[in-house]
Amino acid sequence: MIHARGLTREFKVKKESVQAVRGIDLDVEAGQLVAFLGPNGAGKSTTLRMLTTLLPPTSGTATVAGHDVAREPAAVRARIGYVGQRNSAGEDFLVRDELVTQGRCYGLRTREAAARADELLDLLDLAPLAKRLPGTLSGGQRRRLDIALGLIHRPDLLFLDEPSTGLDPKSRAEIWEHILRLRTTYGTTLFLTTHYLEEADNMAERVVIIDGGRIIADGTAEQLKNDLAGDHIVITTGTAQEAEAAARLGGGTAEGATVRVRVAQATAALPGHLRTLDAAGIKVRTAETVRPTLDDVFLTLTGRSLAHDDVPA
């Protein structure tokens, strides 16, 4: 579905060129759900805008839905859907009218576009809002309308730029329900950006991490976590001396009275680890196993945490 090679994009900011994307290679097969994860300013949106023909690449090539984004942008556009970061619907236009317009933009006849608009209003639970102006909708409703607009021509590939950002937890869950249903019902290939770690972790079968305009990790969330962060056992002892003794004996690093040790499978390793310490006379007060998060992966890769987002550009 997507094959990108050496994709780069430079911007001129006050006569200085800034490299937003520095050579991205990416292959996405049909039917995949890929989460593109990275901090603000990492190049997520710029990459997405190149793949959707909104922005010509400075160098490199990309074939999307079987066509080259630079040479055959119209063919790419006809085959993909795009849900941008901002509001897709214009403020002056009724919800249903915008859907019909969108259908006509993809070459549907007015009647076909109207039928398809009604179908999508039902699919995304927007039917009661058909005659409303976008400004009167809630954040979650607006987002569903954005998705409906992206689906009007039944694309095989849908790009979503931060689909759930700024929504309350209930609306986020609803949006995800709709996104996942698209996949199970129509087999739509989904490529989305997010900076919510837990979303990428729970929903996507493949996570691509981007930082500073480069892809720095790519795999399933499980793989990334096992390979790049790993499980940890965390114990606390009575004193710092005991903690150091525990670290010498069982590995890991002591910090105050706490010891962190990386192991392959923390839940399986914990009983044995405790027995070893116990046999050496070290009194363990608390013990827990910690599964890594994608943030730990990012931390391992970059030395920064994704959770505290704002990275200087």
Binding site: P56, R77, D97, C105
Partner: protein
């Protein structure tokens, strides 16, 4: 070509629909030049002794300048809001997008023109139907070009938008004054007349006056048509380029 027409119609439909929902706004738009015609026209009639024949085409050119500018404003709003981005990801023809968005302003202009002419007739305005029709075609071509240029301005001033207001406000008025729309340039000092001569709007105004007087073969008609076509060509090419280079 069929896609172009289909796409232009799509965008025109989209832009026009809200006006149908709220026809009061449309009436105000269309009635606006009447105020100019009666208040300013009567004033001028006494002051410079110019006839309605001279004044009516001028009013139309003025309307033709402000309409496309407001089309640029709507584009700016959609550019900042995200709706334009959504339209740009569809296979919609880019030129059709520019033309369709100006088309509403042009339709308004045509209705305004009919209204003004009908009302000016009893005041002594002499109707030369062929000339007026030719004049309106010329204005539509000019207006489409201006619309495209105002879209360029809108795109260049995103995401802030301040540039749009600053430039459109400071360009529109001198452009109008220096074209002889409101007051004749013949009595102006030489340096002002020279500025008028580099102003494309001057040629349009002269051509319109000739056409509305029924003088289809006047040289000014040719110059005006050239100016209108040049503005349209530059506007559409530049607008297309801006859209292609990414928003």
């Amino acid at each position: 070509m069929t896609t172009f027409l289909h796409d232009t119609a799509t965008i025109f439909n989209r832009e026009f629909r809200p006006s149908l929902r709220n026809p009061v706004g449309l009436l105000f738009d269309m009635g606006q030049p009447l105020l100019f015609l009666f208040l300013f026209g009567s004033l001028l009639d006494g002051a410079v002794g110019s006839s309605w024949q001279w004044f009516v085409p001028g009013i139309l050119v003025m309307m033709c300048l402000t309409g496309p500018m407001s089309a640029g404003y709507t584009l700016l709003v959609e550019l900042i809001g995200g709706a334009l981005e959504r339209l740009m990801v569809t296979p919609l023809n880019r030129t059709a997008m520019l033309v369709g968005k100006t088309a509403k302003a042009m339709l308004t202009l045509l209705v305004q023109a009919v209204l003004i002419i009908v009302l000016a007739l009893p005041l002594g305005f002499e109707l030369h139907a062929v000339g007026v029709l030719a004049g309106l075609v010329q204005l539509v071509v000019f207006g489409v070009g201006l619309g495209a240029l105002s879209f360029v301005l809108a795109i260049k001033s995103a995401p802030g938008g301040t540039l749009f207001y600053v430039v459109s406000q400071s360009v529109l008025f001198p452009l109008l004054l220096l074209s002889g729309v409101l007051l004749p340039l013949e009595t102006a000092p030489a340096w002002l007349r020279m500025l008028g001569q580099v102003n494309p709007v001057t040629y349009i105004v002269d051509a319109q006056r000739a056409l509305f007087a029924g003088d289809l073969t006047a040289p000014s008609v040719l110059y005006g048509t050239l100016a209108a076509c040049a503005v349209a060509a530059i506007g559409l090419l530049w607008g297309n380029r801006c859209l292609r280079r990414g928003l």
